[in-house]
């Protein structure tokens, strides 16, 4: 059962990641291109001419002049030197696909733990509710404090600090969601309104505290077009909305089918509770795709 859910989660995540990649390619890439164009226009004459796609011949020269090492840390605008723009655009699908795979797998295991314990009793509804909660925790909560930025926005020297802060706010979002769920469970005997207010408080208090206490990051260079920044951020948020919506529906559908089949095979077990219902352990390999 767990393995089947995990496999479905990986597939649903990969698929949702590729769908989100398609959205990002269509609605986000134009803004990435605009930002990189601005970045290159603003940069002082670099060690390599912009747009040198034949990096095979350039790279040894760069290494010979001792300029390869600094690239390991916050690179400047020289990404074309290592990976050309067309390859980066293909890499977008690789990135969102692998991201979906990883997120989908973790989600499936969390889902397996929640199932029958917390939240809606049916798999499809639980999947949608959990996907919505995950979107709130790992996308909305971070986005309010540290919104997505296009290339050319951000100081390479602070990348480690910004990454750490980002991880912290994601963890705060996840912890606050867990607190809200636990609060709602504890108040399950109370009036529904009391329960909802308690859950909302359990979520909002840590989140708002983190928003207020964590240091802000303001590294948008003066003169960067506000419209481009806004449109990029909306495209980035849209990519995540598409991912979580697609994933919630795909995984909900898949897990519903798993549970329907599982229920069909274990139905006779209702009479004797002693019967070992091990049919959930070894799902046939062929049926797991």
């Amino acid at each position: 059962m767990v393995r089947t859910l995990l496999v479905r989660g990986l597939w649903a995540g990969l698929l949702a990641g590729l769908i989100a990649g398609g959205f990002a390619f269509a609605f986000g890439e134009p803004h990435v291109d605009s930002a990189i164009a601005l970045e290159e226009a603003a940069a002082p004459p670099a060690h390599e001419p912009a747009g040198s796609s034949a990096h095979g011949s350039d790279e040894p020269a760069a290494q010979a002049s001792g300029e390869a090492a600094p690239h390991d840390h916050g690179h400047d605008h020289g990404e074309e030197a290592v990976v050309s723009r067309p390859v980066q655009k293909a890499g977008l699908f690789l990135a969102t696909g692998l991201y979906g795979l990883a997120v989908g797998g973790v989600f499936a295991l969390v889902f397996a733990g929640l199932r029958g314990r917390v939240g809606p009793r049916s798999d499809g509804r639980l999947a949608l509710a959990t996907a919505g909660a995950a979107f709130t925790a790992v996308v909305l909560v971070p986005f309010v404090k540290y919104p997505a930025n296009p290339p050319a926005v951000g100081d390479p020297a602070t990348i480690n600090d910004r990454t750490l802060l980002y991880v912290v706010i994601v963890l705060v979002g996840l912890a606050a969601t867990a607190i809200a769920v636990a609060t709602a469970r504890r108040a399950s005997s109370a009036d529904p309104w009391v329960r909802w207010v308690a859950a909302a408080g359990g979520f909002l208090v840590p989140v708002i505290a983190a928003w207020m206490l964590l240091p802000g990051v303001d590294e948008v260079p003066g003169g960067f077009p506000a419209t481009l920044l806004w449109e990029f951020r909306i495209a980035s948020l849209g990519t995540q909305v598409v991912f979580w919506a697609a994933f919630g529906v795909l995984f909900g559908w898949a897990s519903d089918r798993v549970s329907a089949r599982h229920a069909a095979t274990t139905r006779p077990a209702t009479a004797p509770p002693t019967s070992p219902t091990t049919s959930s352990t070894p799902p046939s390999p062929a049926s797991s795709s």
């Binding site: 393995r3 986000g28 390991d72 314990r117 329907a260």
Partner: protein, 63 residues
């Protein structure tokens, strides 16, 4: 459709625990996609640059 109303039973924790080792592996994949700058992948800037557009559009801090 019938699944939307089928109540589901809890999966015992010992059975769930068997699958916990998958979590660090999956998180490592997420880390390599979203945050590595060459320290773990040992590919220098290559992996970072390959995932570059995905990082920006997934909202993760990048240069």
């Amino acid at each position: 459709m019938s699944g939307l109303t089928t109540p589901s039973a809890a999966i015992p924790f010992p059975r769930l625990r068997l699958w916990l080792p998958a979590v660090p592996v999956l998180l490592l994949v997420a880390y390599l996609v979203l945050m590595d700058n060459g320290a773990v992948s040992q590919t220098g800037a290559f992996l970072h640059e390959l995932m570059h557009d995905g990082r920006h559009l997934l909202g993760v801090p990048c240069h």
